[in-house]
């Protein structure tokens, strides 16, 4: 049974009126309630239609799913384990904490689950060139990696600011044979890299496949990336049942664009007793305005092809974001999270740079696992929540990536220069 195919299998009825019956979003036009959709220039309509048709065809194609499963197993190293963080749980003094170890994947984060899927799709569609946007460089590295393996040309767009603060990942991408283009427009960060990738795509649609790195963008990206990332939650659901004999009380993940979170959440959506909590970046604090928390402190708007919650000013201009973790530094969020928030199926909170950093050190010292700064946001929220829960309850956290890439940043916070 294919990883993707199984998405459709575990559907259980819910009681919520907005979510009556098994969860089946998005609709045929890519809407999650009022969110999502296809807000793009006419020049992108054709490639997006082509992509949607290919995706719908291969989603149920046994041959494609076999190929995907084999790569996830032999190249990525799936299934990733679920680890009971006993010492950290004891220190926090409440619920038992379990970590879904996406940090153990090839390339060190969950991102590769999606790039493998999209790159295999690109090859089936006969595309010879892939492009990607990246913030921290994790998605860029994951894209360059699969491009190298499949022998595809690869161009990665990265904001000039991020190129400067993520030097090591830029070098990794170049080693892997990718061309890294520093984007000099706008705020010179992730959102501008996405703009530039879209511009490349309209210009080179004949041979180019655009691999978006999160559950944002126009339909079918939010649904497609979710389906590729849902392998996380499907595995974890089975692993928790096996380990503890029941489902977790809470599933939790950090939310940048929202791909690692939706990948964990989606297979639990119809398990109404399981609480889902997404953790955004509060940066210097939500009240300072210097943050990256559109779900907690943003408004509805349209950006990058979909309607969602955004960080924007009163004139509809997209605002600059701030987070210690480049991977959460994005002013929008996947439309499905906007819908899960409005329907109340998931809740969203935000933690500050300082709280994330404290959790980073906490996990590192008690468990010998150095998490990514993005992931550390989810860990910080768990550290707040666990003590309020009983010892026989459990929190399952998506450990979305490892912290090797963040050594420079953390050292600088500690006043050191590496």
């Amino acid at each position: 049974m294919g990883y993707v195919m199984a998405t459709r299998a575990d559907e259980i009825a819910t009681g919520d009126p907005a979510m009556a019956g098994p969860y089946r979003w998005p609709d045929a036009q890519g809407h999650f309630g009022p969110y999502g959709g296809l807000f793009v220039p006419e020049t992108l309509m054709h490639p997006l239609t082509e992509l949607r048709e290919a995706y719908e065809r291969y989603l149920d194609d046994p041959d494609f799913l076999r190929e995907l499963d084999a790569d996830l197993r032999d190249y990525v190293g799936r299934p990733s384990p679920v680890y009971h963080a006993e010492r950290w749980s004891r220190e926090l003094g409440g619920a038992q904490i379990f970590l879904k170890r996406e940090d153990l994947n090839h390339t060190g984060a969950h991102k590769v689950n999606n790039t493998i899927g999209q790159a295999l799709l690109a090859r089936r569609m006969g595309k010879t060139r892939i492009i990607a946007e990246t913030g921290a460089g994790q998605h860029g590295v994951a894209s360059a990696t699969v491009a190298a393996r499949l022998g595809l040309e690869c161009v990665v767009y990265m904001g000039e600011v991020d190129v400067a603060r993520q030097e090591a990942n830029v070098y990794r991408m170049r080693l892997l044979g990718a061309e890294v283009v520093a984007v000099k427009s706008g705020t010179r960060t992730l959102k501008d890299a996405l703009n530039e990738a879209m511009r490349d795509w309209v210009t080179n649609i004949d041979n180019t496949f655009y691999i978006i790195g999160t559950v944002a963008g126009p339909h079918p990206y939010p649904a497609m990336v979710r389906d590729f990332q849902s392998v996380i939650g499907r595995e974890a659901r089975g692993q928790m049942l096996e380990k503890t004999g029941r489902l977790p009380d809470v599933v939790m993940a950090c939310v940048g664009g929202g791909s690692n979170a939706i990948g964990l959440f989606h297979p639990f959506i119809d398990d109404q007793a399981v609480r889902m909590i997404g953790v955004e970046a509060a940066g210097d604090g939500l009240d300072t305005g210097r943050h990256a928390a559109p779900l907690c402190a943003g408004e509805r708007g349209v950006l990058h092809g979909n309607r969602t919650y955004l960080m924007e000013d009163e004139n509809g201009q997209i605002r600059e974001t701030h987070s210690i973790s480049a991977g959460l530094d994005y002013p929008g969020v996947g439309p499905e999270h906007a819908w899960l928030k409005d329907t109340g199926r998931a809740s969203y909170v935000a933690v500050t740079d300082d709280e994330a950093l404290a959790a980073f050190h906490g996990l590192t010292r008690t468990e010998g696992i150095i998490p990514a700064l993005e992931t550390s946001h989810a860990l910080a929220q768990a550290a707040k929540l666990a003590p309020t829960m009983a010892k026989d309850q459990s929190i399952l956290i998506n450990l979305s990536g490892r912290g090797d890439k963040d050594m420079q940043t953390v050292a600088r916070m500690d006043g050191l220069q590496l």
Partner: protein, 277 residues
């Protein structure tokens, strides 16, 4: 009849092709934009496309992106653009003005308040680049209520079904994007464009403008042979950038006026392909 319809009607009777300049409102500032709009009309512009600055212009190439950034650095908002057109209308009641921009500033204002403010300011229509027909029901209804036109893009990759869907909601005119790419990109193939325009005209009764890739008098003249309107953006905005960068903003209106005069002459002296006259 709307100002846009009246304009195309008159041009058709005269056997002429419309000259449609695009400039970004507030680049380098709103005073220059006003003078520029007036000068462009004096130099032969038939309709003005006014870019509304947006922080994330995904369909624009580097030249118009930088114009947007200059305008945003001055804090120019959708409200300021509406106010600019209101001032333009104090002296010009004939020349249609179409806003070109992205959905989010309108989304934040609300479709209904936007359409009524636009009408009140003397705007004639809007082309919202990232609001395709399937996502613009609300905006279409709001614009229609105010008697304003919604202009849509068509691309080389638009098939018969897309052309049909756009034909059902478009009004005023349609805008054919002549190259695969962003504004300011590439070289256009006039023969290929002509063929595509025939296909569009077979399904849509509105005038068809052609833009993206028209750089100078020669390309304008070529496109004028097949199009109902020649739309020129980056070639104008690039000159504005140079002058603004050299601190010669007061020369912008005059310089662009001269450039448009050249385009006007080239367009009017070219032979239109018979069937479109």
């Amino acid at each position: 009849m709307s100002r846009i319809q009246t304009t195309f009607e008159r041009l058709r009777e005269e056997g002429r092709t419309a000259l449609v300049p695009f400039v970004t409102a507030g680049d380098p500032d709103l005073e220059v934009s006003l003078a520029l709009m007036q000068q462009m009309v004096a130099a032969g512009a038939d309709l003005i496309e006014l870019g509304v600055p947006f922080s994330d212009p995904i369909a624009d190439g580097p030249v118009i992106q930088r114009a947007t950034e200059r305008a945003l650095a001055n804090g120019v908002s959708l409200r300021d653009v509406l106010a600019l057109v209101r001032r333009f209308r104090e002296t010009d009641r004939e020349t249609p003005v179409v806003l070109m921009g992205y959905l989010n500033p309108i989304e934040v204002m609300g479709s209904v308040p936007f359409a009524s403010a636009a009408r009140e300011a003397g705007i004639d229509g809007a082309l919202i680049v990232d609001a395709p027909p399937e996502e613009s029901h609300e905006l279409v209804a709001a614009m229609k209520t105010q008697g304003l036109d919604l202009v849509y893009l068509l691309a080389p990759t638009s098939d018969a079904a897309r052309i049909n869907a756009i034909g059902e909601v478009a009004s005023g005119f349609v805008y054919y994007v002549s190259v695969k790419g962003v504004t300011g990109a590439g070289n256009l193939d006039v023969e290929e464009v002509g063929g595509k325009l025939d296909a569009i005209r077979a399904q849509i009764a509105l005038p068809v403008g052609v833009g993206f890739g028209i750089k100078d008098a020669a390309t304008a003249a070529q496109v004028a042979q097949v199009a109902d309107a020649v739309i020129v953006g980056s070639a104008i905005v690039g000159q504005i950038e140079t002058l603004a960068g050299e601190g010669r903003a007061e020369e912008i209106a005059a310089t662009i006026g001269v450039f448009l005069g050249e385009l006007r002459t080239a367009i009017d002296t070219t032979d239109r392909v018979a069937e479109h006259v």
